[in-house]
Symmetry: C2
Subunit: 336 residues, 2 copies
């Protein structure tokens, strides 16, 4: 009994049986059940060596994730994982939280050791990319939500992300236009040389353009957690009674900061306005619902894996894409 | 130049170089940097075939995840992933959201196709386990946070989870003892035959024991999302003005339900008390902070992978462990 026999018995094409075996969602439920029944009755086990060889040894896609405790990346990994499954590839995940400075080396070792056909890097700084970094690597690399400060070697990899400077600039201008001047910024990590750095730049640019000037004592780091942002905000509000707005670089941190504002006996947005970043579902259901910079999270994930697979199949070359963000105004911000 | 030469130059043991190559955290930072420098200078690339063979073909641990959009599982995957990396294994992730009824088949195909040395299943129902399901499988299987209704074949796999009946029973008793009688329950999914089913049983048991009786119109499904729970709660509160407490089977859903209560013009906890489940960090920073049933999430993840690796090394047999949960009382619940 082989896959052709199953297809014949089920009166469907071989490709339909294959889709069922690979858990591809694009099969009618009644057809799926019929095929599964036939497979069960026939004791057919889809583990012939050709299939194993094909799936195990030559179709590995790697995901190198930085900041694994960030639910923003977890959700993107899930979107990517579904598309990898649908296309019959194997997803190999490596977490990269221990390495801050040798990200390129880690990536190259990952590709070689796992014989990857392609790799997506979610997050990270990659400040160490040089013109030669990926010259010898002949599989496609997509850096997603990375925004490295390095300008080198761009022809050897692809990137998909948002314009972090502009996004943070727009959110800061939005608060300034509402009359706020003393706007605190909660960064992810103080030594973050990628995303946080660009967003900090956008924040500074807005303040300087509007003639407000940057007060470094208003910039703190919340470690991308609610808890970290809560503690920093409690301290900040004790020291600085003149803060009227807080811009947190993730929704998770915005929730912690919001709670700190309330626990300090202040009101949102009457006393202090707050803006988050990411546009996670939960931000809408916070009390009050949070104004936030929405990233096209699922689109970014889908474009990354679609591009990678297209490159693996030789259909596309390297490219660099910046997607738009959108400021969603909710109940946590008001005019001063 | 091989790993021994590197070790000699760095004046450390081969195992230390190996730990650096494998991103093991347990290396002094100064030693790590020294080794990395020597590796860079020597152009040593750790991709000899023995290493690839060892790492790629024989050290694969699979993670089969159900409910990939549940941040609870994402966080557990991260804990597991770090320990897999530290031990020099490769983590292969497969998502299992399309299959509700053939979970055993999916698991077996996953093990065979990827030549796994062991597998952890995060979530899922596995109602189809029989005495023969895993009889022929000679690699360890750990079902984590699964709680299958099947009593069969337990000698062929391990499980680590919480006592879902007792946890839900305790939370419901807690609300009843505060004087609540009309307690709504927000399930994950209506057709969930695992975790939700057990928790529903605990909820019913508490109500019946206290002579209150179960009103099925108070049981709804929020689809494990804030959005789903929000919608269901808005509708429920329109129809039933007599509800005084809501028990949501995840913190994410509790947030959605809480927002629905507030948007319906009611107060928390003065008009309606709310209890979540999971004990995620964010529940503490909600406004008001949410009373919740805390699961030992990280411990559960760590125990699962430690057990699996111990089993792979022949040091332990199959076992079934239930961990305790803890009701954390915060500001979202009060006496009626």
């Amino acid at each position: 009994m082989n896959i052709k026999d199953i297809a014949k018995l089920a009166q469907v094409g071989v490709s339909t049986v294959s889709r069922v075996l690979n858990n591809h969602p694009d099969v009618k439920e009644s057809t799926r059940q019929k095929i599964v029944e036939i497979i069960k009755e026939s004791n057919y086990i889809p583990n012939n060596s050709a299939r194993i060889l094909k799936q195990n040894n030559t179709k590995n896609i790697g995901i190198l994730v930085k900041g694994v405790f960030n639910p923003f990346f977890s959700q993107m990994t899930n979107v990517i994982g579904n598309i990898i499954n649908e296309n019959g590839y194997t997803m190999i995940v490596r977490q990269n939280d221990y390495n801050i400075y040798q990200e390129v080396d880690t990536l190259i070792a990952f590709i070689k050791e796992k014989r990857l056909q392609g790799v997506i890097c979610l997050g990270g700084n990659f400040i160490d990319i040089t013109d030669d970094s990926f010259k010898e690597i002949n599989v496609p690399i997509v850096l997603t939500s990375v925004n490295t400060v390095s300008k080198q070697g761009k022809e050897y990899y692809s990137s998909i992300g948002i314009d972090n400077i502009k996004s943070a600039y727009d959110a800061t201008i939005y608060l300034i236009n509402k009359g706020h001047k003393n706007i605190a910024l909660i960064l992810g990590e103080a030594n973050d040389m990628g995303v946080s750095l660009w967003r900090l730049e956008g924040y500074k640019k807005a303040l300087e353009e509007k003639g407000i000037g940057v007060d470094n004592s208003l910039v703190v780091s919340g470690g991308y957690s609610s808890k970290g942002a809560y503690k920093e905000t409690i301290e900040l509000l004790k020291q600085r009674k003149d803060i009227t707005a807080i811009f947190a670089l993730s929704d998770i941190m915005a929730m912690g900061a919001a709670k700190a504002i309330l626990d300090s006996g202040l009101r949102i947005p009457k006393d202090i306005s707050i803006v988050g970043f990411d546009g996670m579902d939960e931000s809408e259901y916070y009390n009050p619902s949070l104004t936030t910079v929405k990233q096209p999270q699922k689109l970014m994930a889908k474009m990354s894996i679609d591009l990678l697979i297209s490159q693996i199949n030789g259909k596309e070359g390297n490219k660099h894409t910046l997607l738009d963000t959108k400021l969603i105004e909710r109940d946590s911000t008001t005019n001063l």
